[in-house]
Structure formats: C-alpha cells, structure tokens
C-alpha cells in the first residue's frame, strides 16, 4: 500500500501499562516523533522509560492506548512494526561466543535483508562505527564500548526507519561514553533515521535530542526542545546553599518576593529562577535578608533544573 498521507514515525496516544500486581508503570502518555527527529525520554530509573520502549518494540503488551510505528499499530501489526525498527538494549544482548560478523549476519537474515545488500551494509556500518577490524573476533573478547558499537551497528544493518536506544551509554567509562555520543551524533547527521533515546544523562539529551519528554512516575511532565524547557526557568537562576533549613529559607524568599512559584529545594540547596530579575539585584536582596548561606551563585538553567522543578527528585535516583 503506497499513500502520500504523511504521518509521524512514532505516534503514541494515551499509552498505559499496568503490570500484574497493579503497578502502573506508564499512565496514559502521549507524544509524537517526526521522521528524522531524535527524541529523548528522560527520567530516573523506574520512571517508565524502559516500559515505554518495551511497548514500542512489542516486547511488552500495552494495557490500553495505541502506539504506531510508521503507521503500524504495535498491538495489531507487531511484526510489521518490528520490521521497520531496531533496538539497542540497555544491557548486552548478543551471542558472545559468535564473532561480531555472525551477530550482524543473524540480524540481517532475521530482518529479511537481501544477502547482497546485507554484505554492503555490514561493510558500511562497521566502517562508520569504527569496528571493521573487530568483527572477525568473538564478541566475548570485546570491551564494553566495542560491544555497544557492535550492537548499534547490528541495529543499523536492516536500515530501520526507527531506532530505539535504551540507555545506550549506561555503564560505560566517560571516554567511551563521549566517543559513543559522537557516533550517535554522526548517525543522525548521516542517516535519515528517527531515533528514540532514553537516558538519565541530561548532557546526552541536550547534545543529541531535538526534543525531549521528561517522564516521571509513568507520566510525561514536560515536553519540548531542551531550549524551550530551560527557557521556562528564565535566562538565569540563583542557587543558594543554606546553613539550616532550606524549606524555611525558601518560605522567607517567597514572602519577600525574591522567589516565585517555580523556586524549589533539594536537600540544603534552594534554586530560584530569576526570569526578568537580574542576578546582581537578586543576590543583593538575599544578602539584605540576612539568610545564613554557605554559598550563593547565579548560573544558566540546565535540564537538570527543569527536571528537579517538575519532580522534586534528582535524575538518576531510584
């Protein structure tokens, strides 16, 4: 069936997942991802990111709602949805006693890639991911970063429309992590591919994603470009480390009109978005109040601030 109708690469409507025992992991989320877009799902462990990926890759059955991949409903046409997508899992999912090449070949055959095209494609992706010299070795001899590159290469063999990357850099050392981010950034630059990335590393999201959704306790609490989300906190914010009770200090800041409704505390730190107020003016006002502060600084908002304001919990926490 060929149609000129345009549709998102991923279209999620009121998607819900309740596990046996009544745990609601995903609570009616909605989002769309356009073709060629890199979309990030951010949130701490247990927020519902992997459950969402599981439903989109048809390894989990949604409780209600719909999810379409390239127009294919994952509940109605799961094989077609899988045919146009690939996934790189959070943990290693490879046959370690096989060579890298055999793992790539297995994917090509299961996804029905023409053998001649598969050979060309293997050469292309292994070269692009810098593992061409490794693929004749058994995977058991690979380092963590090499294995992750192999898994990304494998996912690309079938030339998927949609690529799912579930926490692709978790557990990797910082150098390999940054190398891998370069690889993913190159992927989006060189391929016409839609990527859905889950992560709890905000620098990854800022670097790679066109838009992000912050998911918390199974619900999307914010959605937009990283710049849009940060802009909601203004150009600058004030960060105060309090000697004493931070919530009480925040109450005082509220009472004196220094902090608005979007100020928040985490531990002994009070964060105050400044919006139109200058940082010099705000710092002077704080000093005038005589609050016991161990440190006070002004800085630009980050996605971490956005998340903390929306959820009151730090990313990466369980």
């Amino acid at each position: 069936m060929v149609s000129t109708e345009e549709r998102p690469a991923i279209d999620v409507r009121r998607l819900t997942k309740t596990y046996d025992g009544g745990v609601e992991a995903v609570k009616g989320i909605d989002f769309e991802v356009a073709s060629g877009e890199v979309f990030g799902l951010l949130g701490p462990n247990g927020a519902g990111k992997s459950t969402t990926i599981g439903m989109l890759t048809t390894t989990l059955v949604p409780t209600s709602g719909t999810a379409l991949l390239g127009g294919f409903d994952v509940a109605v046409d799961p094989r077609e949805a899988r045919r146009i997508s690939s996934v790189v899992f959070q943990d290693a999912v490879v046959d370690r006693s096989f060579t890298g090449l055999r793992n790539l070949d297995l994917h090509a055959k299961l996804w029905g890639v023409d053998p001649a095209k598969a050979k060309t494609r293997v050469a292309e992706v292994t070269e692009a991911l810098g593992i061409a010299d490794l693929v004749s070795r058994t995977v058991g001899t690979y380092s963590g970063g090499q294995r992750r590159r192999l898994e990304i290469a494998r996912a690309l063999i079938s030339d998927p429309r949609v690529l799912f990357l579930d926490e692709p850099t978790v557990g990797l050392d910082p150098r390999i992590r940054h190398e891998l981010l370069d690889v993913i950034a190159a992927l989006r630059a060189e391929n016409e591919i839609t990527i859905l990335l889950t992560t709890h590393y905000l620098d990854e999201a800022e670097r790679l994603c066109d838009r992000v959704a912050i998911i918390h306790a199974g619900q999307i609490v914010a959605l937009g470009t990283p710049e849009e989300l940060k802009a909601k906190l203004g150009r600058e914010l004030l960060e105060l480390r309090i000697d004493g009770d931070a919530p009480s200090a925040l109450d005082i800041l509220h009472a004196h009109g220094i902090a608005g409704g979007d100020a928040f505390t985490v531990g002994s730190t009070v964060t105050v978005p400044l919006h139109d107020r200058s940082s010099a003016d705000a710092i002077a006002a704080v000093h005038a109040l005589g609050l016991a502060t161990a440190a006070i600084a002004a800085r630009r908002p980050t996605l971490d601030d956005v998340y903390l304001r929306l959820t009151g919990a730090s990313l990466g926490a369980d």
Binding site: A34, G36, R79, E80, S86, V93, L106, L110, W111, G112
Partner: protein, 280 residues
C-alpha cells in the same frame, strides 16, 4: 519537524512461505552453532545411558542370571533415560539465551515468536538423534541383539521422535518459568530421571505394585519404551502390560497416539508459556 510518507518498508518483504522457513533455518543454524561450541552438552547426557548399556546391564545379567534378552531389554530402556535427559538439558540453552544471550534481540525480530521454540526443538531433536545412534552403535558393538524390520524401525523412530518432542515441551516450559539455571538443573532429575524408574526401563511394569503400575501407564515414557521395544526387539510384552489387548499393531497404534497427544499438548503449552513469559 517533518513527517514521513506512508511508504513500503525499506527491507525486502519475503513470501509467506519464506517468511517462516527462512528465519526458522536461521534460528536452527544459530542454535546448532551455539550447541556445537559446547560439545560437553552433547557428550554428558550420553555417559549415563552408555554406562547402563555397557556396564550395568551386563552386570545385572550376570548377577541375576538372566538371559541375553535382558541386555537387549535394558539397551532399549537406556534410550528412555537418554532422550528425556538430553531434551531437558537442551532447555538450559533457553535460560542462557534469556540471561546472557540474544533472546531479546530475537524477540524484537519481525518473525513469529513460536519459531524461536521450534528452532531450538529442531536442534535438540538432531543432537538427540545423534546420541541415540551412538547408543545403538555401542549396543551393537557389545553384541546386543536387535530384531530389526522396516515397520519396526518406523515404530521406533515414531516413538522416539514424539517422546523427544514431548520432553522438549516440558524443558521449554520449565525454562520459561524458572528464573535461574541453578533452579532448572535442580529440577531435571525429578523430571528426566525419576519417571525412568517407573516406566519399565529396567523391569516390566507388571513387576511393580499395582498403584505404581497405574501411574506407569499414564506416563508417556512407558508407552514410548514399550513402542521402542516393539520396534527394535519385536517384543510386544510392554504394550500388552499397558493395554491387555491381542493385537500388537492396535496396541502400538494406541500407545503412539498417547505419546503423540502428549507431544502436541506439551509443545502447544511450551510455545504459549514462552510467548507469555517473553511478553509481559
């Protein structure tokens, strides 16, 4: 932000037949390669039956002053140990795949998930056939006499094949339900070995107490062993002990139907349990 047109997927779409046969062949080749890399999995299940055929059966014959036919009786009986044991141990591969292998990649592939079970089954059948062949070869070298006819071989192959399929159904079901390999291995003797003592492997089921005799009659292994002895030794006494009928062929057909029913039921259950455990 753009949107995509509803075009055909970029990958080649195979014909309906190839859609299942080609990935099944791929899965079989994968499982066979994984199995061949751990040859001890092929050898270990053979040790006990070979020990029975070469050492224990002759010793029993000597100690109990039985005839040469007892060695033949036990030689076939050892297949009733080899087949369940080997099929049960094949289930370990499912757990390894799930815990540290590529199972989730296979589940994300655009193929019917029942093919994952069938691919494993085919390789388990092939390795078991090889082992049964080795066991028969050992028995022949030991000068154990078989009474082989074309029809008898068919009864034997049918019984052995269906028993193996049934046991793999048990193995796959258990592997899907049990979280760790250690727990799985702990349950193998109860499923793979205990029924062997009840199923007329070393002595006719009529020699057992009445209640155990009735239990033996509902075990697929009892029917399979009786059929295998009928096929390889032309000995229908095992079938008669179950059915008490006059026609060996009719009794063989009934026992084959029983084993086939178990095979069909357990395979269906295993596919269902695997699919459900893989999809939450």
């Amino acid at each position: 932000m753009s949107a995509i047109a509803n075009e055909m997927p970029r990958v080649r779409r195979p014909s309906p037949v190839a859609a299942n046969l080609a990935p099944l062949a791929t899965l079989v080749a994968r499982r066979f390669a994984l199995t061949a890399r751990t040859p001890r999995e092929l050898v270990v299940p053979l040790l006990t039956p070979v020990l029975f055929a070469l050492v224990i059966a002759p010793a029993l014959k000597k100690a109990l002053h039985t005839s040469a036919s007892y060695e033949s009786f036990v030689a076939v009986g050892t297949m009733g140990l080899l087949i369940p044991l080997n099929m049960m141990l094949s289930g370990l591969g499912v757990i390894v795949d799930r815990e540290s292998g590529a199972q989730r990649e296979l589940l994300a592939a655009p193929i019917a998930r029942s093919l994952l079970v069938l691919g494993n089954l085919i390789v388990a059948l092939a390795t078991t056939a090889l082992q049964v062949g080795v066991l028969i070869a050992f028995a022949v070298l030991r000068r154990i006499h078989f009474h082989v006819t074309g029809t008898g071989v068919l009864w034997f192959v049918g019984a052995a094949l269906l028993l193996a399929i049934a046991m793999y159904g048990v193995a796959e079901t258990l592997a899907s339900r049990v979280p760790r390999a250690e727990e799985y291995v702990g349950r193998v003797p109860a499923i793979g070995i205990v029924p062997w003592f009840l199923a007329g492997s070393l002595f006719p089921i009529g020699a057992m107490p009445l209640v155990l005799g009735w239990i033996a009659k509902v075990l697929p292994l009892t029917h399979a062993l009786a059929l295998m002895r009928y096929g390889l030794l032309n000995d229908s006494s095992g079938l008669h002990a179950i059915w008490k009928m006059g026609s060996p062929t009719a009794m063989a057909a009934l026992s084959l139907a029983v084993v086939a029913a178990f095979a069909a039921l357990l395979t269906t259950v295993s596919i269902r349990v695997f699919t459900r455990s893989a999809l939450q």
